[in-house]
């Protein structure tokens, strides 16, 4: 495809040399030195400069020097500027002599002196040209890199969210299967229920990867199934209490987050207590927040690490989804009770939210 609009390079190239000519003309007029010889020399120099700077660009592109190390780029630019300055100086001298538009001073000086001054002045202009070319590409390259880094970061975020969501404890699955196997003989109908509960949990943990948030009631259903399965395992060592405000059922929550926290309550709380304990799940509206509280019997202990994988991932997940609008706290509420509290921004239009979810 041929470009209809001239490329940015051509605009700059033309504009640059145009400005060069105009500046000289301006000064010539102001200081009243405008002669036909001056004009001819200016046009010759600008013409050669234009052609050779374009030729220089051709070499820069051919050698692919812009993708090399910065140090070798700089050395390359200095060498190429010197060489081109000499060539341009030579040709300029040749043309001005041939067209006999040399000025008085030049006519008096020897040719090698003229060549040197010519080369020096063309060096200055080519140097400026190269600086602009080089800096332009350098800036462009670094912005391109920044964009690439940003893209990478957002990809990492996305992946992080996915792995956090799909994090379901295999220990739990195998323990549940083992309990169910024993139940098959002892209480077949409870075993059948348990299989359904386990399937529900597995299904939602797989589905969770595709959604950013789900209505709270869906999440609650999983937690209920999960705790029912853990109850088979722990029997009377596990007591479960719910305190759910019906208003919160349609509030959007990150999938599998409550589940992970309840799982932690079992793993670090109940399963460490010889006599077992209570897990309490509370969901209510507190001011302009949807507040979730998970309490369990147990102690945070000395080895408690608030940046452990489960908690750190929950925190970063909340942060990724809601920014500063969500909060997460964990504390030893009393002698033998640990409390996790999450505040989520309240979703006012939960009815319309439901329709978008069910669609």
């Amino acid at each position: 495809m041929i470009k209809r609009i001239p490329s940015r390079y051509w605009i700059c190239q033309l504009a640059g040399w145009g400005i060069f000519i105009l500046t000289y003309l301006f000064f010539a007029f102001t200081f009243d030195k405008f002669t036909s010889i001056f004009c001819g020399r200016l046009l010759v120099f600008a013409g050669i400069g234009f052609l050779f700077s374009h030729f220089m660009r051709f070499i820069i592109i051919k050698t692919n020097i812009l993708s090399k190390k910065l140090a070798s780029q700089i050395i390359f630019f200095i060498i190429i500027t010197v060489i081109f300055a000499l060539v341009v100086g030579c040709i300029d001298l040749l043309l001005t002599t041939l067209l006999s538009i040399s000025n008085k001073q030049e006519r008096r000086s020897p040719w090698h002196y003229n060549l040197l001054t010519n080369a020096l002045s063309s060096f200055v202009y080519l140097f400026i040209w190269n600086c602009i070319y080089f800096i332009y590409h350098y800036i462009e390259k670094s912005t391109r890199q920044q964009v690439a880094t940003l893209k990478l970061e957002s990809l990492v975020k996305e992946l992080e969210l996915k792995t956090i969501k799909s994090h379901i404890n295999p220990h739990f699955i195998f323990n549940a299967l083992n309990s169910i196997r024993a139940l098959v003989v002892e209480n077949p109908s409870r075993a059948r229920e348990a299989i359904t509960e386990l399937s529900n949990i597995l299904r939602s943990s797989m589905r969770a990867e595709k959604q950013e948030t789900v209505p709270f009631q869906k999440e609650l259903k999983i937690v209920e199934d999960y705790l029912a399965l853990e109850h088979i395992r722990f029997e009377d060592r596990l007591k479960v209490e719910y305190e759910i405000d019906q208003e919160t059922l349609l509030q959007p929550v990150p999938p599998m987050m409550l589940q992970t926290l309840v799982e932690n309550a079992i793993k670090h709380g109940i399963s460490k207590q010889i006599m077992g304990g209570v897990v309490r799940v509370v969901s209510h509206i507190n001011g302009d927040h949807h507040e979730l509280v998970i309490e369990n019997t147990g102690r945070l202990g000395n080895t408690f690490n608030p940046d452990g994988f489960g908690l750190a991932s929950t925190k970063s997940r909340l942060h990724l989804l809601f920014g500063d609008q969500a909060s997460f706290t964990i504390l030893q509420a009393s002698e033998n009770r640990v409390e996790v509290k999450i505040q989520l921004p309240l979703h006012r239009h939960s009815a319309s939210f439901e329709t978008t979810i069910t669609r």
Partner: protein, 243 residues
């Protein structure tokens, strides 16, 4: 007959294992325990040949429980998922079963047990002196992240380090929270000799004996450790050896 105890905090898991073991007439489940403390009590009282042990339990883990026992019976770990925990073992002197347990794997594990062939001999030694450790007894050693099951006969040297004792076996030198004096009381003095204030050596691991200053001895053990025998203990050592 193999006398076994099942230690697991979940009733259903214990039931399931008992049901599986019903197919193995050579294994008799003599007791069950729901946590580590109950487990220690039952092992001490009943001296089982084999223990099926869950690792994750409330209060203390299976490993913590083993570290508290003076002498450990054969252990088969049962676990739902934490094989990684078992990677801690340097010596593969144990087996583990993943829950839900496969009947075939259970059969393999029971077959692999290195229990004495004549069930009688074990009982006799047990009756003669229960408080004294036999050189064939194994101990469970946990040092930081690493764990070992070691037969006493494999340990060549016990070294006192404050309230701890360092065990030397193979290329390992783990610390255990037991004083050298406490160990000396439990060890069979025919095999384990107190060479000086700081060391107990395994007499079957002696490589070379040389005379040393002040009428003492310098004993070189297999593996190259050199231990000085104090003058007082040299007299005792010579008496024992001349017998």
């Amino acid at each position: 007959m193999i006398r076994a105890i099942i230690i697991d905090d979940e009733r259903l898991a214990r039931n399931e294992l008992k049901k599986l073991l019903a197919d193995f007439p050579e294994v008799e489940v003599i007791a069950e325990a729901a946590n580590a403390d109950e487990g220690i009590e039952k092992i001490d009282n009943l001296q089982p040949d084999l223990v099926f042990l869950d690792i994750q339990m409330p209060g203390k883990t299976g490993f913590d429980m083993l570290a508290e026992l003076d002498s450990v019976p054969e252990i088969i770990f049962t676990t739902a998922y934490d094989e990684y925990a078992l990677k801690a073992f340097e010596v593969n002197a144990l087996d583990y079963l993943l829950k839900p347990i496969e009947s075939g794997r259970l059969a393999d594990a029971i077959q692999k047990l290195h229990l004495p062939d004549e069930s009688g001999s074990g009982e006799i030694t047990a009756i003669t002196n229960r408080s004294l450790l036999n050189e064939n007894d194994q101990v469970f050693v946990k040092d930081g992240e690493k764990c070992w099951f070691v037969k006493l006969s494999e340990i060549r040297l016990f070294e006192s380090v404050g309230n701890y004792a360092r065990l030397f076996f193979g290329t390992n030198k783990p610390l255990i929270l037991k004083s050298l004096n406490a160990l000396e009381e439990r060890l069979d003095e025919k095999v384990f000799f107190r060479a000086n204030r700081k060391h107990i050596i395994n007499l079957r691991m002696i490589e070379k004996i040389e005379p040393y200053f002040n009428g003492g001895l310098l004993i070189e053990l297999k593996g190259g450790d050199k231990i000085e025998v104090s003058r007082r203990q040299t007299v005792k050592f010579k008496e024992m050896m001349s017998l």
